[in-house]
Amino acid sequence: MQKITREQLLEKACALLASGEVSCVLGWGAGEFGYDVTPTVFKTAEELKEGFVFGDFCGVNFSKYLVSKTQKLEGKILVFLKPCDTYSFNQLLTEHRFDREKVYAVGIPCEGMADIAKVKAIAGEGIVSIEAKGEKLLVTTLYEDAPVEIDAKDVLAERCVNCKSKKHVAYDELLGEEGDVLDSARFDEVARLEAMTPDERFAFWQNELSKCIRCNACRDACPACTCEKCVFDNPNSGVENKSPANSFEEKMFHIIRAFHVAGRCTDCGECSRVCPQNIPLHLLNRKFIKDINEFYGEYQAGAEVGARAPLVNYTTEDLEPGEVFDRRGENA
């Protein structure tokens, strides 16, 4: 399904390592299963040849890893960035979270990544291997004799179904062809919820957020959540907590989490991708993005380095908080 192949990336990585341009490569490493991909630092061509993978399950956004890796590792780091990753990359640069000089960014095209939950929903559990074949995925499981053939389009991750951009906004070098910013329908689901009655919305979120186990994966994967120490870990913040003891704390955590990244969130979708409970957390972020776009004009976090985020900006003509509701109907 991906237009760019593992071999092309491997060749580029090995060449850059050999020339001394970079000292290591931040890439996707093979995990236990084919769909189980682990962010890995490769220091030699041998390590790369052995462990580097690339395919339809390489959704990890490496931008965030640069914050810690550039601090720890010597020399330049080669990182592969999909178009949506480059927005996070820029946003982190805007916030001075890593040294641009220590990174060699290679932009790679992306045809959309697959969601293993969707694959399992079709092919069932016990997946042994997944092979890409043209526009199809061949899934071999423990329980079926023949591989199950799945249309790759049918198992696209939610964020890729509503891909916002195939254009890279930052890179040192680009592999493959540059795409365009897309008109996505990413706000449709938010609009659907907005159209519900408050009671329905409350029921929806109560149900979703009750699943939260406070594993903090959403926070830890989020490229906007790069605080040295999170408020939820800060005993002086008044909101420190570790477990969702009751429904209030689930909401508290997710409201504050989304509020803290509001205006900075690039809508990369990592939060929902990593959520083990499949809570559609990205909808909270998108709600903020949609509101910001409607209230203060279109804004895409990370589109350019140094941009002033909407919530740390203002005009004297901004709408009043009360008017937020006047703009909508009783339910919507």
Binding site: E95, H96, R97, E228, N236, A309, V312
Partner: protein
């Protein structure tokens, strides 16, 4: 744990009438940290204060809660009381049980209940209070005035008069600014030069004032009381201290065809020049773009004729570094460009001029030696059309004009029209106006005189277009009162161009971290109550850089700015408000979010080395708040995602504790 004393005030019957003060002091006795609780008729009285002081000693109190009137009333009083008892004044919290309780609630039960809750909230807060000490910083007793027009001159003179040294930085070779170009001033018609030039001489002779002419501010660091400023003194290729201003060099300079900016390009000057006869400093300047010697090394006449030996072709730009305690911005204004107003044929005909050009034409020291002659053919104009609001009050196109009223045009146009009719009674003078705006002492009387005594024809309406035809200017305009379209054959058309802040203001504002509005006028700290201060502490505003102004207003604002500067420089040390933001560097990400919301530029970032638990070191970017600049609004604390930024006196934990106490 604190040892808190609670003092409930009766305020006579003001509080005690609706609140059971005895019950309140009893109830609060059992709150955590409280070791003493009492009530008294008038806590703010001498006796009440003595009672607090005695209790502090007797019960070794570390915190005080006074349940009384609004903190806006007596917080300062009780802080002083605490300080007198040897306690840190910031260990006092007030529970407002008068304005926000006894006075707004009717029955005793609700009043008492609420007073107890408010008391609990104050106790919860004081339990988390920490002693705060206002920071002190020294004050450099020297002021910088940026801009040497009438605003800058007046400010500098007033500051110097109080005994403080002042430096004026002026980008032109001479001080004087726009006022030096004017002919007469409204509404008294005294000549601008007659009242300005003595002040310029005063500046030159004042030993407290230094003038850096032909200079620009290139860098500003520091904060109120302690600014470090770099000033670039551009090479004028003439030794300023040696040049006597005799003008021999100017006379002999062979390069005579340089447009004279002082006369707005209506005549020429030499490559070496003194802008005008009364210039201060009266020193020649060589225009490096026009001088043959500087361009290709061929000439050197001026050096030969200079008896003093002041010419120095090898002079270089010089950077001067100086410390200042206060900075006054007086960068002034300029008329906007008329290029976009094709309908008035400004770029097509030399006889369509701006009002500032008209000033030069009527000025005795101007290009026509004060005779009102048409720039095209030097003939006497018989019909003059003045057009008001050219580019002012223009909401249609931001590139063309300005949305605001330029304020001064109505009056100077009345002046121009009146003077023209006075000197040349055979001239027909039309003024096309939208509204004649003449608020000000003797202003409307002045305008009416122009109409009634001098016969200036004021027509309510606007000029639609001006078309040069032969030696005439065909003016098509509307007369809204007569409901007619007029066609006037004019000899001269004068456009009252809108004024805008000088282009140098925007980069300067960035250097000063002083805020500006969308029109690039400097913003004042408070539009009514602090009109001459910028929100950035230590930066003051004088003259048209803050908004369109006439001369009397400019001078009064200049004096006001000076008095603010004097008030600042008179202090040996600045005591800050200790309730300022501070960042916990262990938690700070250095993400710059807080810096963006700070209206005062109080936050900077440093790269700091941290020792990590694994004994390695790590360099991280962290925010540092300058307590002398921070005013304590708290915008940064909410912008900070990690909660590293907190506000002393209103810490997150303190406000949370209040919330908890109230919601219990």
């Amino acid at each position: 744990m604190q040892r808190v004393g609670v003092f409930v005030c009766w305020c006579g019957s003001n509080i005690a009438g609706t609140v059971d003060v005895q019950a309140v002091s009893e109830a609060l006795k059992n709150e955590p940290g409280v070791v003493y609780s009492a009530n008294y008729q008038y806590m703010c009285s001498q006796a009440g204060q003595e009672m607090i002081k005695a209790a502090v000693k007797e019960h070794r109190l570390t915190g005080i809660v006074v349940c009384s009137c609004s903190p806006r009333m007596h917080e300062a009083t009780f802080r002083k009381t605490a300080a007198a008892a040897g306690l840190n004044p910031y260990m006092v919290e007030i529970a407002n049980i008068r304005e926000q309780c006894s006075w707004v609630h009717k029955d005793m039960m609700t009043g008492t209940e609420k007073a107890i809750i408010l008391g609990k909230a104050a106790i919860a807060k004081v339990n988390l209070n920490a002693p705060l000490t206002p920071g002190e910083s020294p004050v450099t007793k020297r002021a910088l005035v940026i801009g040497g027009g009438i605003a800058g001159i007046q400010t500098a003179l007033d500051i110097a008069d109080a005994g403080f040294p002042v430096d004026i930085v002026e980008k032109q070779p001479t001080i004087g600014g726009k006022m030096a170009q004017l002919d007469k001033t409204f509404p008294t018609l005294d000549c601008a030069a007659c009242i300005l030039t003595p002040k310029m001489v005063d500046v030159a002779q004042n030993e407290k004032i230094r003038i850096f002419s032909y200079s620009e501010v290139t860098d500003v660091h520091g904060f109120v009381g302690n600014f470090d400023v770099k000033i670039k003194k551009k090479a004028r290729y003439v030794k300023e201290d040696i040049c006597t201003g005799c003008g021999a060099c100017v006379e002999k300079c062979p390069m005579k065809k340089v447009p004279n900016e002082f006369n707005l390009g209506m005549d020429n000057r030499h490559a070496i020049y003194i802008p005008f006869a009364q210039a201060v400093p009266k020193v020649a300047t060589i225009d490096p773009n026009a001088c043959n010697m500087l361009k290709n090394g061929k000439c050197g006449v001026c050096a030969k004729v200079c008896a003093a030996g002041a010419i120095d072709y090898k002079q270089k730009d010089e950077i001067i570094e100086e410390k200042y305690g206060a900075i006054v911005v007086a960068t002034g204004f300029n008329p906007i460009s008329m290029d976009k107003f094709d309908e008035f044929a400004y770029s097509q005909s030399k006889d369509v001029i701006t009002s500032l050009e008209f000033e030069r034409l009527t000025n005795a020291a101007g290009p026509s030696a004060g005779k009102l002659l048409r720039p095209s053919d030097g003939k006497h104009p018989h019909t003059i059309v003045f057009v008001q609001c050219v580019g002012s009050r223009c909401a249609a196109c931001a590139e063309k004009g300005k949305e605001y009223c330029s304020k001064i045009c109505c009056m100077y146009t009345a002046k121009h029209a009146m003077l023209t009719r006075d000197k040349y009674p055979d001239t027909e003078v039309y003024v096309f106006y939208i509204d004649a705006r003449t608020p000000g002492k003797n202003f409307d009387e002045f305008y009416r005189r122009a109409v009634e005594e001098y016969g200036v024809k004021y027509i309510k309406g606007m000029v639609g277009k001006v078309v040069p035809e032969g030696d005439k200017l065909k003016v098509q305009a509307s007369d809204l009162i007569a409901n007619k379209q007029l066609h006037i054959d004019a000899d001269l058309v004068v456009l009252a161009a809108a004024i805008e802040p000088d282009k140098s203001a925007r980069p300067l504002a960035t250097m000063l971290t002083a805020s500006m509005d969308t029109n690039d006028f400097f913003t004042e700290a408070h539009p009514k109550l602090r009109p001459v201060e910028s929100p950035t502490a230590g930066v003051f505003l004088s003259g048209a850089c803050q908004g369109p102004k006439d001369i009397p207003e400019t001078v009064s604002q200049a004096g006001a700015a000076a008095s603010k500067v004097i008030g600042l420089l008179a202090k040996d040390k600045l005591t800050g408000n200790p309730c300022v933001a501070s960042s916990n560097e262990l938690m700070c990400n250095g993400c710059s979010t807080c810096e963006r919301v700070c209206p005062y530029g109080a936050i900077t970032y440093i790269d700091k080395e941290f020792r990590m638990p694994d004994r390695t070191t790590k360099i991280r970017r962290v925010a540092v708040v300058n307590p002398a600049v921070c005013q304590g609004c708290g915008a940064c604390t909410v912008a900070c995602p990690s909660g590293a930024m907190d506000l002393n006196g209103f810490k997150n934990s303190q406000i949370m504790a209040e919330v908890d106490a109230i919601c219990k």
